[in-house]
Subunit: 301 residues, 2 copies
Amino acid sequence: MLYMIGLGLGDAKDITVKGLEVVRRCSRVYLEAYTSVLTVGKEVLSYYIQGQDLGLSSTSQEEFYGRKLILADREEVEQEANNILKDADISDVAFLVVGDPFGATTHSDLILRATKLGIPYRVIHNASIMNAVGCCGLQLYRFGETVSVVFWTDTWRPESFFDKVKTNRQNGMHTLCLLDIKVKEQSLENLIKGRKIYEPPRYMSVNQAAQQLLEIVQNQRIRGEEPAVTEETLCVGLARVGAEDQKIAAGTLQQMCTVDLGGPLHSLIITGGSLHPLEMEMLSLFSVPENSSESQSTDGL
Amino acid sequence: MLYMIGLGLGDAKDITVKGLEVVRRCSRVYLEAYTSVLTVGKEVLSYYIQGQDLGLSSTSQEEFYGRKLILADREEVEQEANNILKDADISDVAFLVVGDPFGATTHSDLILRATKLGIPYRVIHNASIMNAVGCCGLQLYRFGETVSVVFWTDTWRPESFFDKVKTNRQNGMHTLCLLDIKVKEQSLENLIKGRKIYEPPRYMSVNQAAQQLLEIVQNQRIRGEEPAVTEETLCVGLARVGAEDQKIAAGTLQQMCTVDLGGPLHSLIITGGSLHPLEMEMLSLFSVPENSSESQSTDGL
């Protein structure tokens, strides 16, 4: 059996009791190390491998920590899917995913391969950013299509995702913006020379995302288009959702450029316009103080 | 501290390790008994109260099952919120919610009351139908606004939610339809006589939802409108998502009228039109066999 197991968002203890039991009895346990990971992943590793106390009986701990975690990055999952699935028809293999196995990135491919090989699979769900964003008080069923905001380079500055934000807002839907993560990136030089030396990981902050969004707004104004979003659009910045030190800030897009949310991972919500009174009241718990924004909107919107 | 703890979707073991630890140390533990519950809720109760083995050490079990679960239905949560929050500033109180605390129904109100009383709160997230629907292979970020399909009566047959389905489809987004649940309903007679006798709970099936949807489609045709959905629109029916006996069926809306998905809870997805090849491939794992639909589309669409 192939088990796809969600780890949730906070730390190692966000695995479900069922998920933990399955991990304990699997012959091989892989940890997906590419879609979000790291803040959570390292934590998980330290708990799992260094044997930190999970609050279970010592027998359970011994049983549990006997499992070695095999890190699998995107390359490995794509190239070595057959190794991951080896003997999964006669033994149990676990594939651990931060969040939910069907979160922002689907793991459909591994499931399809398993099915073709006649290997049964089971999914053990968990929270992912896709439903945990509800913690800010915006109603989940009022979210429209989710967009990804990628790091711009000097030569690649995509704006097309903004159409989806526009469609969502025109229909009163909130937009969850998933912010870019760059892990295991090679510099052009190292890539050309075939050196497997990787740059330090980068995680887009709410500040960076808001600045890119405002640049798109400016570009649209220059082109004479009516932007669907302005400096004054109400947004919500979220950091480390589900973790002890989670931080939420509600304010204008302009304020999102300077609000301090601390370390990764960050997400940004662009609200859909008119809010339900209960949504407003919840957001008011997280309001950015007026003076915390250094820059001010200058176009009087 | 007020802890809002998600229980996930399957059974008692879908609580997270962190959630379980918190429940063990809380002075009072409430179980929300109104938004979805029952299939899961009863299970949870049987585990928690009858002391079924959770796979933890016996000491942990004793500690854990020492907590009595207090069932809280919607009335009680609204009317007795102050009782629930009593002393939560000096002791720990847990409020357990099937799925995620910010799933389909938000529990913002309890959080706002706590905040007003100066009681800190923490949320322990879990899977909810809002992210677990990804298990069918449709990409979560391509979902638009979520709609609720309610049981029609002779005199109340709302169609307005269908506009949201239309907007979603026009923009290529999938629509998750949450299907009605009627628990703790009184007959008109019992209501008038003030007798607290409740009707048996009712859960809308995918069949019933599909039939109501087709009726709306017919009504729109009669009014000369172009329906956004037809008998042939690709849909996905899901039952008991996250449970061992979960069932998924992909087929036309017409097929959804007769497909057998077993007991509750059910959900229905109306796809957003063009699908990604990976979505198509995943859905093909769950195709309704051609001959399983007794009725056939008659309008040649």
